[in-house]
Amino acid sequence: MPRISHTRPGEGRTLPRPDSDHGWLRTVRDGFFSGWISGAITVVFVAGLATILPSVWRWAVADAVWYTTDPSACRAASGACWAVVAEKYRVILFGTYPYDQHWRGALVVLFVTGLAVLSSVPRLWSARLFVVWAVAAVTVAVLMFGGIFGLPYVGTNQWGGLPLTMIVFITSVVFGLPLAVVLALGRRSHLPVIRAVCIGVIEIVRGLPLVSVLFMMIILLPLFLPSDLTVDKLLRALIGMVVFFGAYAAEVVRGGLQAIPAGQYDAAKALGLGYWPSMFKIILPQALRIVIPALMNDIIRAFKNTTFVSVIGIFDMLGATKASLRDVDWVRYSTEAYIFVALVFFLYCFAMSRYSQFIETRLGREDTR
């Protein structure tokens, strides 16, 4: 009987016998010298690091000035001048907020960070969280504005630094998410006029650069309102941030709505639920759950995007840092100051992205239970 085969004879690869050796030598070989290409990469990397790392070390650590109030001490040293951070951190972190009131800003940062950490614990997820955030918003406003409880009044034109970054971030997310849900529901509505309006808003906002949206809010909004009505500059920027975040998140939420099987909609209808009850009790709780990881991406981006307000002259942490470096004595150490700011942003964003991974695996586990 002839042997019939679909494989090309002689071309199959014979795999080597599995190695029984699991020692550290094996780990090193697999991780760094598994083939001649891998070996070459390792050699190039080691050589590269050996040339770069010592000079980086000398600049950042060995020859660096860690603390001094005298900029000429930095000029004498050949390394980094981290003293600029110690010198300017109050301006970087709090902007032009009155110096003796900085504790209020610090409290806002701690408060908002703590609340964000609490809100990320799945066990605490409930409608009560919205109440907590509403109370928090009032508290933050009282702390920042003052004017009551013996706190001196501070106008938004003096706000700045990390508290402002936090406020811009939290406002865009807390007001942007409900807007996103409304826009996403509208985009999937059976009513053509409502669908058209929502598609129009989403696509136009998503098609524009964020800086141009902010620019419109600053330049065009006053034009469209009565001339005797002036809207606070920060508020205008915040509206722009909310609408931008809302339009992006709306598409994420829409993805979640589409992923809900039609049977769920039918079941809600069969129970006699109207449109809003069926959405709030049946569809949205499931849809939002699915899209949490994707929403986290948008939320992290919203945090990074807060820096855009510095372009229109609002002193968020980046804007405040830029302003603090107008000081001719310290301007030459701008790199060190920006590295500090980058580190602060990195800590927040990295924590959020790790959280996003955690929540993704956790939700995935619940689904396959």
């Binding site: 006029v193 409502i194 136009i204 098609g207 065009l220 034009l223 855009f308 964003c349």
Partner: protein, 393 residues
Amino acid sequence: MALLFTSHWAAMFWNDAKIRGLIYQATVLVLVLLALAYFALNAQQALQERGITTGLAFLGQQSGFAIGEGAITHDASDTYFHALLTGAINTLTVSIASIVGATMIGLLLGIARLSANKLLSGFALIYVELFRNTPQLLQMVMWYLLLTQLPGPRDALSPIAGHLYLTNRGINIPVLENGTSLFTAFLLALVLVVICVTTAFRLMDRRLRNTGKANGRFAALAGAGIAALLGTWLLLGTPTTLVSPTLQGFKYRGGQTISPEFIALFFGLSLYIGAFIGEIVRAGLQSVSRGQLEAADSIPLSRYDRFRLIVLPQALRVMVPPATAQYVSLLKNSALGVAVGYPELFNVTNTTTTLSGQALECVLLMAVFYLSIALTISALMNLYNRRVQIKER
């Protein structure tokens, strides 16, 4: 009684879903129209008070400001329209350069993340985390800062002595003898190589299917590559020498000077988006199931064909939609050029608005430009997406 009660309510017109829908829509329509009318009236009044006449007539006036760089030069005596055009061309230039850069960085990062070499995958991981978790604008500002801290023209750094000079006024690189920039040449070569090599692959696959012959593949590929490079050389007008920049006074002449503003924007866009593309590539490659790889091994395909015929088509399907979103995001964030002083469209619009006072028209023109380019990218990528999607019978 109960029956009467329900039928009484059912008879009311607002219990008819269709009529209720019409009422909702009419309400929304009226509210939207009212808001628009209110805005329009206010705007009209404000413009009248300021003595500004609306319309696009101002585009024909002299702009009164010059734009330092770009594919076309804009002088103070040129019109506003010309200024906006220059900005739009600059936006496209930096976006195309950055999209090419981000794609190449992303491909390398995605492959490096999956490498068995721990040093390489570790480096790629650190890069991705670092660049994704810090604001793009901050990165751009830092690039600009680093570039302007380079030495002045007289004691420029020259990593390739005599040809490449790094100064705080920009990076000076050679050009081809007829003045064509190296970047244009590179882009042209890239496009031609991709076209020739994919065509060669397609022809060889067809030959394999029809005749069963698989020999001479390396020669065919090498031939396609050489033909592409030769074609580039011919299209560029057969240049034979490079013209290197030379220092004359305080400026380098002869070569091409790339401004620190352009490079800061280019780095800020391509290195940042590249990190995201890298994750998309990694996720795409990982999304191909093991069964597919084992099936490929059992045919048996060579490692290379396995990647080209089994892994890549399936990975592309996963990669194209999120990559599109990143490209559109890159284009839009080129507006951050305003922060480093690169004259792209948003920056020029900003200046034009201030000088002409025609805020409404300027913003509208800018919005139309960004919207149409963003939609064009989406449409092109959708077209490509349709090609790489599964063809179900």
